[in-house]
Symmetry: D2
Subunit: 113 residues, 4 copies
C-alpha cells in the first residue's frame, strides 16, 4: 500500500491541484470501461445522424434510437459512479473528507434540493 | 413548394412501406435541427473520451460532463418529438390514425404502464 | 356532435376562462384512471412513512420504495398525457391551436431547450 | 458516544438480521427529514386528487403538478441517499463491506447495466 503510494507520488502530486489536500484520480479500470462505453455511444449517435439524412426517416424510429443512447450513457455514468464510490467514497471516513465528497456527488447527480 | 412536393412524390410513396396506409416522414426542419444537436453531442462525447485518457482525471468531472451530454440528448429528443407532434399527431384526427400514433409515442417515451 | 357541444355548453363555458377560445377539459376516463393511480401512490407513500418510524429501517429499502412510487407517478403522468394527446393534441389541427398546445406540452414535460 | 452505542445494542442486534454481519440502520436525522418530505408529497398528491374531481380540470395543469411531486420525491431520495453515503458507504472500507454496499446502491438507483 505504502509502496504503491510512493510509486504514484509524482503523478498523484499533479493530480488535482485545485482539489485541496486530496489527490483523487479515477481508477484506471473505470476510465477504460467508461471510455469503451462512450465510444459505442458515439458510434450510435453517428448512425442516428446517418438516419437523419434520409428524408424518409420516421420520427419515432429516431426517438427510440436517441432513448437507446441515453440508456447507454446512463450505463457509462454508472461505471464512473461505481469507480468513484469504490476508490474514493468508501475510503472517505479514513481520509476525513466524506462530507465534501458526498456533497459534490449529490450535486453532480442533481440530487440536492 | 408545390414543385418540391411533386419531386418527392415517388420517394414519399416508398416512405414507410411497413407503416400501413400512412407515409409519415420526419419534417425536414426537425431532421436538420436534430442532426445538428447530435453532432454537438457527439463532439462532446469525443472530448470526454479525451478526458478519460488522462490518468489524473477526476471521476466527478467526468460524471458532470456525461450528465451534460444526457441533457443535450434530451434536447434532441425534444426536437424530434416537437416535429412529430406538429407534423403527425396534431393532424392525426383528420387522418384517423390517432390511437395507433399515440400508443406508439407513449411506448417510445416509455410512458406506458 | 353539435348536440353534444350544446349540452356541455354551460360546463364548458366555465372550463378554461383564461385559455383563450378553447375550452379543453380532461377526459373523464383519464381523470378517473389518474385519480386511482394517485390514490395508490399516496397509500404507498403512507406505508414508506410508517417504515421510516422504525429506527431499524435500512436506507436502501426506503430508497427502493421511493423509486417504486416514482415509477407509479410516471404511470399516472402517462395516463394524463394519453388523455391529452387523444382528446386535444390529435384534434389540434382541426381547431387551429396546435402550435400553442405543443409548446405547452413540451414545456410541461421539460423537453424544451 | 460510547454510551449511546451501548444503549442501542439490543436494538442494533435485531437491526438487519438478514444483512449478514452488518447492522446498518438509517440515521435518525435522515429518517425524520425523509419522513417530512414524504408527508409533503403525500399532501400534494391529495390536492391533485381533488383537482381531478373537477370535470373542468385541464390535463396540463395536472401533469405539471405530478411533475412537481416527482421532483419532491427526488429530493426525498436525495435525503435517504445522503444519509446512506455518510453513515454507511463512507465507512465501508473500515468495515470491509464496500463491494456489497456499492453493488446494492447502484442497483437500487438502477445504474447497473
Amino acid at each position: 500500500m505504502t509502496r504503491a503510494k510512493t510509486d504514484k507520488k509524482t503523478e498523484a502530486a499533479s493530480c488535482h491541484p485545485t482539489h485541496t489536500d486530496t489527490h483523487l484520480c479515477m481508477p484506471e479500470d473505470a476510465r477504460k470501461r467508461a471510455n469503451r462505453r462512450l465510444a459505442i455511444a458515439r458510434g450510435h449517435l453517428e448512425s442516428i445522424q446517418r438516419m437523419l439524412e434520409d428524408p424518409n426517416v420516421y420520427c419515432m424510429d429516431v426517438l427510440r434510437q436517441i432513448k437507446a443512447v441515453q440508456g447507454a450513457l446512463q450505463g457509462a455514468a454508472g461505471v464512473v459512479l461505481r469507480g468513484h464510490l469504490e476508490a474514493h467514497v468508501a475510503t472517505a471516513s479514513e481520509r476525513g473528507d466524506a462530507e465534501e465528497l458526498i456533497e459534490e456527488l449529490l450535486e453532480a447527480m442533481k440530487l440536492t434540493q
